[in-house]
C-alpha cells in the first residue's frame, strides 16, 4: 500500500452559530446574502441575518423544538432556508436539507428515517408533497412555508407561515431574553450540524452526519488553499441538499464571511450569474457542458463573419490559452501571444461576460469526470477551472488541483490534513478532517465504510501518477473485464461518449461479455437543432431518436470514440461494437438516474433486459414498452421499436505491442 499525506491543519472548537454572531459583531454592516426578488437584488447585512436567525430560532423553540432534534429544509436556494439552517444549529438541532425535486414517496423515507417533526419548505409545490405524506407520517407536526402563493384556502392546522414563525419567535424572545444566547453557548464542535442524505446508487439513501468541527476544519483548509476572503462572491444555485452547495454556500461562506447570492428562480440562473459576476464558482461537469452546448448552438445561428471569427480565435485559444493561464507563457510565440490578446478583446472577454464568468478567480468542477475538450475550452478562454475530488462522507475534502498544476485526467493532490492510501485492489482510502461522524442509525453501513483503523473507503479505483496527482478511473466495483480479459471501465467509455454535444447520456455494457455495447440518449436540444437545420421533421424525443439520420450522427460519435480507445494500451480491446438510441430520456423520476444525474447501470440493465439481449443477440431492432413516471407522480407507458446498429472498430494497439 502506498500512502500520501498533505500538510497538517488544526482549528479551534467552533460552531456555525458562533461564527454567525462573530461576523455580526465584527463586520455587521457588510453584505452577507442577497436575493433577487421582483426584479431587484435585495441585500441583508450580517447583523440583519443574525437578527432574522434569532427570530427563527426562538420561533422554533416556541413550537417546542429541542436540542438534538431534526428539521427538514426543502426548496430552492432561498435566504430564509439558509437562515433556518443556522437557526436550527443555534438550538443544537440538526438541519436535514432534502432534494427539492424529489417526489413525495422519496421524501417520506428521509422524514421517517431522520424522525423529522418540523419541515421548513419553500412553496406550495413542497407543501403539497408534505400534505400528501402527512397521513402516512403523522409525526410531522408543523409545515412552515416561505411563499404563501396559492395556499389561501389550505387547511391550516399544520401549516404555518414563515412570517408567523418569526413573529411568535420575537415574542418568545421578549419573554425569554437569554434563551437564544444560552442555546448558542451550549453548542459544541462535535455536535452534528447537518445530515446530508446520499443519493443512494444502491438501496435507500443514508444520512451522512457531519459535525460543526469537521465542516469548519475543511472550510478553513479550502479557504487557505485557494486564498478565499470576505471579498469573494458566490452564486448559490445547486441543490441545498447536495454536499457541494452546503460546503460552498454555507460552511465556507460562514467561515470566510463572503457574500452568498440567491437567484430569482432556477430558470433565471444564467441572467443572475451575469448580473452578480461571482468570483468563485462551482458546478458539476454537466452544468459546464450545458453552458458550452448553449454557446455552440448560438454560434451556429450567428452570422457567417462572427462564426468565422469565433472559430479562428478558439483555434488560437486551444493552442496557447491554457499555457498562458498557467503562467507558462515563455513557451508561447510572440505571434500567438498577440493573437490571444486580440482574441481576448474580441471573443474570449465577451464570451466570459455572457457566461457570467468575467470576475471568476477560481472555478471548480467535480462529482463526475469532465470531457477533455470541455475542460480545455474553459481553461483556454482564461477561466481558471480546476478539478477536485471528494464525497459527501469526506465533506468534499480529499484532493484539489493547485493553481498552475492543472491536469485533465487527475483530480489533484491531497489537501492539507488529508492522508490517502491505495488498497491492493486499487481502491482509494482516505483519512480527512472532513470525515463523517457516522451514517444516521446505520452502524452496519458505518462499519462497512470506515475501516477499523479509521480510513474511509471511497469505493473508487485510482492511483497516483508520477507528479503525485490522484487519478480516478471508475468505481472500484464497476471496473470489470471482458471475456477476453481486457480491462473494461464503463464510466470511462460513457464519459467519452457524453462529451459529444449530441449525446446526453450513455450506458456501457461489457463486463463478463465478449464485447462492449452501449445505450445512447441523444441531447434533444442539440440534436433537435441539428435536425431542424436539415429539415428533418420530428414530433418529439421518441420520434427523433429513431431517425436513420440521427443514427448516422451517433454512429460517427461512437466510431470516433473507438478510434480514441484503440490508442489506449489498457482499454483498446473494449471498443464499442453495437449501439442503440434509447426511445426515452433516462430520468431520475424513473429511478434510472440518481438525483445527481449519475446513471444507475445495474437498474437500467435490468429494466431494459430485452434491449440488452437484442444488442448481444445480433438483432437489428427490438420492440419495447416501458413505464414512465411524470413529474406530478402519475405513470404512463411508452412503446417504441428501437433500432440497433453496428459501429466500426479499429485494430487495438495493445495486441500489436504485446506481440512485438
Amino acid at each position: 500500500m502506498s500512502t500520501q499525506t498533505g500538510p497538517a491543519v488544526a482549528g479551534p472548537e467552533e460552531t456555525f452559530p458562533r461564527l454567525l454572531l462573530a461576523h455580526a459583531q465584527s463586520r455587521g454592516d457588510r453584505t452577507a446574502i442577497r436575493e433577487k426578488d421582483l426584479g431587484i437584488w435585495l441585500s441583508w447585512t450580517w447583523k440583519q441575518v443574525a437578527d432574522e436567525v434569532r427570530a427563527i430560532a426562538c420561533g422554533l423553540s416556541a413550537l417546542g423544538f429541542r436540542r438534538g432534534q431534526t428539521v427538514a429544509i426543502i426548496g430552492d436556494n432561498r435566504p430564509r432556508l439558509y437562515w433556518t439552517m443556522m437557526a436550527v444549529q443555534a438550538l443544537g438541532g440538526i438541519a436535514v436539507p432534502l432534494y427539492q425535486d424529489a417526489i413525495a414517496s422519496e421524501m417520506l423515507f428521509v422524514l421517517e428515517n431522520a424522525e423529522i417533526e418540523i419541515a421548513v419548505v419553500e412553496d406550495q409545490e413542497q407543501v403539497d408533497k408534505m400534505l400528501e405524506i402527512l397521513p402516512k407520517y403523522p409525526r410531522l407536526r408543523h409545515i412552515i412555508y416561505d411563499d404563501p402563493r396559492g395556499m389561501r384556502n389550505y387547511p391550516d392546522q399544520v401549516l404555518l407561515a414563515f412570517e408567523a414563525l418569526q413573529t411568535s419567535g420575537r415574542e418568545y424572545d421578549k419573554s425569554h431574553p437569554t434563551h437564544f444566547q444560552t442555546e448558542v453557548d451550549k453548542g459544541r464542535g462535535d455536535d452534528i450540524a447537518v445530515m446530508l442524505y446520499t443519493s443512494g446508487t444502491t438501496g435507500n439513501p443514508k444520512g451522512v452526519c457531519q459535525t460543526h468541527s469537521a465542516l469548519i476544519a475543511v472550510s478553513r483548509g479550502d479557504i487557505a488553499f485557494d486564498g478565499f476572503s470576505a471579498d469573494d462572491e458566490i452564486l448559490s444555485y445547486l441543490p441545498m441538499a447536495w454536499v457541494g452547495d452546503h460546503l460552498f454556500s454555507y460552511a465556507q461562506a460562514l467561515v470566510a464571511g463572503f457574500c452568498v447570492n440567491c437567484p430569482e428562480s432556477s430558470e433565471t440562473v444564467m441572467t443572475d450569474l451575469r448580473e452578480i459576476g461571482p468570483t468563485y464558482y462551482f458546478a458539476p461537469p454537466r452544468v459546464f457542458e450545458n453552458l458550452l452546448t448553449q454557446v455552440m448552438i448560438r454560434m451556429e445561428d450567428a452570422a457567417p463573419f462572427k462564426r468565422r471569427l469565433f472559430h479562428h480565435f478558439m483555434g488560437v485559444a486551444r493552442r496557447c490559452g491554457a499555457a498562458l493561464l498557467d503562467g507558462r507563457g515563455a513557451s508561447v510565440s510572440a505571434g500567438d501571444r498577440f493573437n490571444y490578446w486580440l482574441g481576448n478583446l474580441l471573443v474570449y472577454g465577451p464570451l466570459r461576460n455572457v457566461l457570467g464568468m468575467s470576475r471568476i478567480r477560481v472555478a471548480y468542477t467535480g462529482g463526475a469526470a469532465i470531457g477533455p475538450d470541455l475542460f480545455d475550452f474553459y481553461r483556454s478562454i482564461g477561466i481558471n477551472l480546476k478539478q477536485l475530488y471528494g464525497q459527501t462522507e469526506t465533506a468534499v475534502y480529499v484532493c484539489k488541483q493547485p493553481s498552475g498544476e492543472v491536469k485533465l485526467d487527475t483530480v489533484g493532490k491531497p489537501l492539507p490534513g488529508v492522508q490517502i492510501r491505495i488498497a491492493d485492489n486499487g481502491e482509494v482510502q482516505v483519512r480527512t478532517p472532513g470525515m463523517l461522524k457516522e451514517y444516521y442509525k446505520r452502524p452496519d453501513a458505518t462499519a462497512e465504510s470506515i475501516s477499523p483503523d479509521g480510513w474511509f473507503l471511497t469505493g473508487d479505483a485510482g492511483y497516483f501518477d508520477e507528479d503525485g496527482h490522484l487519478k480516478i478511473i471508475d468505481r472500484a466495483k464497476d471496473v470489470g473485464r471482458l471475456d477476453s480479459g481486457t480491462l473494461f471501465a464503463p464510466q470511462y467509455i460513457e464519459n467519452k461518449l457524453k462529451f459529444f454535444p449530441h449525446i446526453k447520456e450513455a450506458v456501457a455494457f461489457g463486463h463478463g461479455r465478449d464485447r462492449c455495447c452501449v445505450f445512447i440518449n441523444i441531447d434533444l436540444g442539440s440534436v433537435g437543432n441539428w435536425a431542424e437545420r436539415r429539415g428533418i421533421a420530428y414530433s418529439g424525443y421518441t420520434d427523433l431518436a429513431q431517425k436513420d439520420e440521427v443514427y448516422a450522427l451517433v454512429k460517427e460519435c461512437v466510431e470516433s470514440v473507438n478510434a480514441d480507445l484503440a490508442k489506449d494500451p489498457q482499454l483498446g480491446g473494449s471498443q464499442i461494437h453495437r449501439f442503440l438510441v434509447l426511445h426515452k430520456e433516462l430520468d431520475a423520476d424513473d429511478g434510472e438516474l440518481t438525483r445527481t444525474r449519475k446513471v444507475r447501470r445495474g437498474f437500467i440493465a435490468e429494466r431494459y433486459q430485452q434491449l440488452v439481449d437484442a444488442l448481444y443477440g445480433g438483432a437489428t431492432h427490438c420492440e419495447i414498452e416501458a413505464q414512465v413516471k411524470f413529474e406530478d407522480g402519475r405513470t404512463g407507458m411508452i412503446r417504441a421499436d428501437v433500432k440497433i446498429r453496428e459501429a466500426r472498430t479499429f485494430p487495438a494497439e495493445t495486441a500489436q505491442r504485446k506481440a512485438a
Partner: protein
C-alpha cells in the same frame, strides 16, 4: 357551488348584466335577444359552436361592437352602448383570441403598457423620466413585477415577445390584462391551440387570479373539460341565441346544448 376551489371564495351579487342584447351586421344577426348576468368574483364561461356569437358578445361588453338593442349594466350603471375607453377605465380588461401583443417589445414593456391608463403624469415628464414620473413609474414597475412573479415569467422578463413560444405569449397577454388591475377580466379562448400541459398551467393561473385578486372572469372556451373544471356557471350560445344557462352539470345535461354540439337529424 360544489367545486373545491370555491371553498374560500364568496360569490357576491350581480356585477354585470346584459339585457336583451341584439347585434346585427347588415342582415346577419350575430346576437339575438341575449340576457345573462355575471356575479362578483365568479368565473363565467361562454361556450358554443363556431360562429355562435361568443366573441361578439365579449366585444359588446367592452364596447368594441355597438349592439342595436339592449342594455349593459356594469357595477350599477346602465349603458345602451359601452365604449372601449370607458370600459377600460371602469376596470374591464381583456385578452384576444389571436394574441395581440407588441411583438418587438420585451415582456416587461408589453406589460407596462397595460398600466398606461393608470399613468397620471404628462407626456413631457414621462419622456424625461424625472420627478413625479420617476416615482410613478417605479410604482408601476413594482406592480408589474408582482404579476411577473405571479405568472412565473421572470426568466423571459427582458425577452422580446416575438421570440417566445405561443403558450408563454398567451401568459404574457394575460399578464398585460392583469397589469390594468381589472375588476372584470374578459378572456377570449385563453387556451386555444395549447397542449395539455400549457392548458393545465393556464387553468391554474386563471383560478389563482380569481382566488388571489378576487377578479371576476368571463371566458370563452371550447375545451369542455376546462369549462367544467374552471367555471362556476356557463352560458351556451348557438346561432346568436342563448340556448342554455346554469352550472356546468346542468348545462351538460341540457338537451338543446347536446343537440347544438352533436347536431340533430333534420
Amino acid at each position: 357551488m360544489e367545486h373545491e376551489h370555491n371553498t374560500g371564495r364568496r360569490i357576491g351579487g350581480t356585477f354585470l348584466s346584459v339585457e336583451n342584447i341584439s347585434l346585427a351586421f347588415g342582415g346577419v344577426k350575430a346576437l339575438t335577444d341575449i340576457s345573462f348576468d355575471v356575479r362578483e368574483h365568479e368565473i363565467r364561461a361562454i361556450i358554443g359552436p363556431n360562429g355562435a356569437g361568443k366573441s361578439s358578445m365579449l366585444n359588446c361588453i367592452n364596447g368594441v361592437y355597438r349592439p342595436q338593442q339592449g342594455t349593459i349594466r356594469f357595477d350599477g350603471q346602465a349603458f345602451q352602448q359601452m365604449d372601449p375607453h370607458k370600459a377600460a377605465s371602469m376596470g374591464i380588461a381583456r385578452t384576444f383570441q389571436n394574441i395581440a401583443l407588441f411583438k418587438g417589445m420585451s415582456v416587461l414593456d408589453n406589460m407596462m403598457t397595460g398600466r398606461s391608463l393608470k399613468m397620471h403624469t404628462n407626456l413631457f415628464l414621462q419622456a424625461l423620466y424625472v420627478g413625479p414620473n420617476r416615482r410613478e413609474e417605479l410604482e408601476h414597475r413594482q406592480k408589474v413585477e408582482h404579476i411577473i412573479d405571479f405568472l412565473q415569467i421572470e426568466s423571459v422578463r427582458k425577452t422580446p415577445v416575438g421570440r417566445l413560444p405561443y403558450g408563454v405569449q398567451k401568459r404574457v397577454e394575460l399578464g398585460r390584462a392583469l397589469a390594468a388591475e381589472p375588476r372584470l377580466l374578459l378572456l377570449d379562448e385563453p387556451m386555444a391551440g395549447m397542449n395539455i400541459e400549457e392548458k393545465q398551467d393556464m387553468c391554474r393561473f386563471i383560478l389563482d387570479v380569481n382566488d388571489e385578486f378576487g377578479t371576476t372572469i368571463v371566458l370563452i372556451e371550447h375545451d369542455m373539460g376546462v369549462v367544467m373544471d374552471v367555471s362556476d356557471r356557463v352560458v351556451v350560445l348557438d346561432y346568436g341565441k342563448k340556448i342554455g344557462d346554469g352550472t356546468p352539470a346542468e348545462v351538460r345535461a341540457n338537451q338543446a346544448v347536446i343537440d347544438a354540439y352533436l347536431g340533430v337529424a333534420h
